[in-house]
């Protein structure tokens, strides 16, 4: 079973040289730490920055320089600042190659729910609805099951939707899956996890064809 770091490491392997990538809050933020050295990847922060760098050293933090999670950050050479309209403009026009975000539920047709739980205080969708509606490639980092052991990979999302038919790939503590027209296609098992365990943890349509390799993470 993967921990959060493991999920982030596995997702980092999906990033290709030359990609512009938008990382959501939570596990997706961790992905930045595992992008292979020497690979040219530019991180977009939807509050108006291309070329996000790591957190600043203590004392170097700048109130004017934050990411979409409101954390103090730095820039890397080649960065640029722009306003929110242009930021979502480049998201809508599919200039961002890859969007990685968290989810509460994903359905086997690629619908995603990650912004609202009925009965709980709603904080808002922020930029998530824009991102999922426009991104050309969306990878979701999520837990396969909730604390009660119930599957979050469903035939149909039960929570209010953030976007429809948009998720392309899912990385959980148990597995890597593609979202296809026929449902979730199992690609890899987490270390020590059996196909049977993944089957039991998946309520949506699950396609298992041939041997499912265990994932390789350094």
């Amino acid at each position: 079973m993967l921990d959060k770091t493991g999920i982030a490491k596995r997702i980092a392997k999906e990033i290709k040289d030359g990609y512009y990538v938008n990382l959501g809050i939570g596990i997706p933020t961790l992905v930045a730490n595992y992008i292979p050295k020497g690979m040219n990847v530019v991180l977009q922060s939807e509050n108006g920055l291309l070329g996000m760098g790591p957190f600043p050293f203590e004392g170097d933090e700048d109130a004017d320089l934050i990411n979409a999670g409101k954390q103090t950050i730095t820039t890397v050479p080649g960065s640029s600042f722009f306003d929110s309209a242009m930021s979502f403009g480049m998201i809508r026009s599919r200039k961002v190659d890859l969007t990685i975000l968290g989810a509460m539920e994903v359905s086997d047709n690629g619908d995603i729910a990650n912004w609202k739980i009925p009965g709980k205080m709603v904080k808002g969708m922020g930029g998530a609805m824009d991102l999922v509606a426009s991104a050309k490639n969306i990878i979701v980092a999520m837990q396969h099951v909730n604390k009660a052991g119930e599957s979050k990979l469903l035939p149909k999302c039960e929570l209010p939707l953030t976007g429809i038919r948009c998720v392309k790939k899912i990385v959980t503590e148990l597995a890597v899956l593609d979202v296809t027209p026929e449902g979730f296609r199992l690609l890899e098992r987490a270390p020590g996890i059996s196909v049977e365990q993944i089957k039991n943890a998946t309520l949506g349509r699950l396609i298992i064809e041939g041997d499912i390799p265990e994932m390789v993470i350094e």
Binding site: P56, D64, I66, T72, F81, S87, M125, M129, A133, R165
Partner: protein, 236 residues
């Protein structure tokens, strides 16, 4: 073309009860601190505030929530704010949550004189309720979009880094965020700046918001520029 006013009190003096105002900023970054303080002091009530966030309990728009000056918030994310939550649950505060890109683009539409725009954000979700949906072919594929209307705000209040007496504005780093679009969108636009310089000082190629969009400008003071989430890494 001198648009300079003395201070925030003078800049906001004609904002009346029940006005609709846009406030720039993302989180606590790039917010018009001086103007918010002046609005609290003036005690104007029943405001509809268009702003990406609602501040925190004791800073930003949160200060206007404490004094119950806000009737309605139009935001994309209202975050961690206990007083906000209390007022929302008690029905004192009305909240309209809209996608962040939709918020930005509805401001831009107003500034660019476009009555409505189309965005795919929210298609298939509860956001589409009551909105016109329309299909367009994009890159050879049919895709659905929602028609979203340009905002109509009485005032826009923005914060810039530098400005001149013509109202030209330059923003700094990610403190730019919603400020340029809101500056364009307000019927009356008020800009507060950290440094106010005479016209001709700023490089015309570096100006983010041309002065034509700005009606009043003043040099603010005592900027706290509070950091919402200080994240650092260890040295070496």
């Amino acid at each position: 073309m001198n648009k300079t006013v003395k201070n925030a009190d003078e800049a906001i003096k004609d904002i009346q009860d029940n006005a609709t105002i846009m406030l720039g900023g993302f989180g606590l970054c790039g917010i018009p601190e001086n103007s918010i303080t002046a609005l609290v002091k003036k005690g104007v009530k029943g405001l509809t505030c268009i702003s990406n966030n609602a501040g925190v309990d004791d800073f930003g728009i949160g200060l206007m929530l404490q004094t119950r000056q806000v009737k309605k918030m139009i935001s994309s994310y209202v975050g961690e704010n206990a007083e906000f939550e209390r007022q929302l649950l008690s029905g004192e505060l009305e909240v309209e949550l809209i996608p962040q890109g939709t918020l930005a683009t509805r401001c831009m539409a107003a500034g660019y004189g476009m009555p409505a725009i189309y965005t795919p954000a929210g298609v298939g979700t509860e956001i589409e309720i009551g909105k016109e949906k329309r299909k367009f072919i994009v890159d050879g594929e049919e895709k659905e979009f929602l028609m979203e209307m340009a905002f109509d705000a009485d005032f826009a209040i923005v914060k810039a880094w530098k400005g001149d007496n013509h109202g030209n504005l330059i923003f700094r780093e990610t403190a730019r965020n919603f400020n340029p679009m809101m500056a364009m969108a307000g019927k009356i636009t008020i800009a507060e700046v950290e440094e106010l310089v005479p016209a001709g000082t700023l490089d015309p190629d570096h100006i983010h918001t041309p002065g034509i969009y700005v009606h009043r400008i003043f040099q603010g003071s005592n900027y706290e520029k509070r950091i919402e989430q200080k994240t650092v890494r260890a040295k070496g």
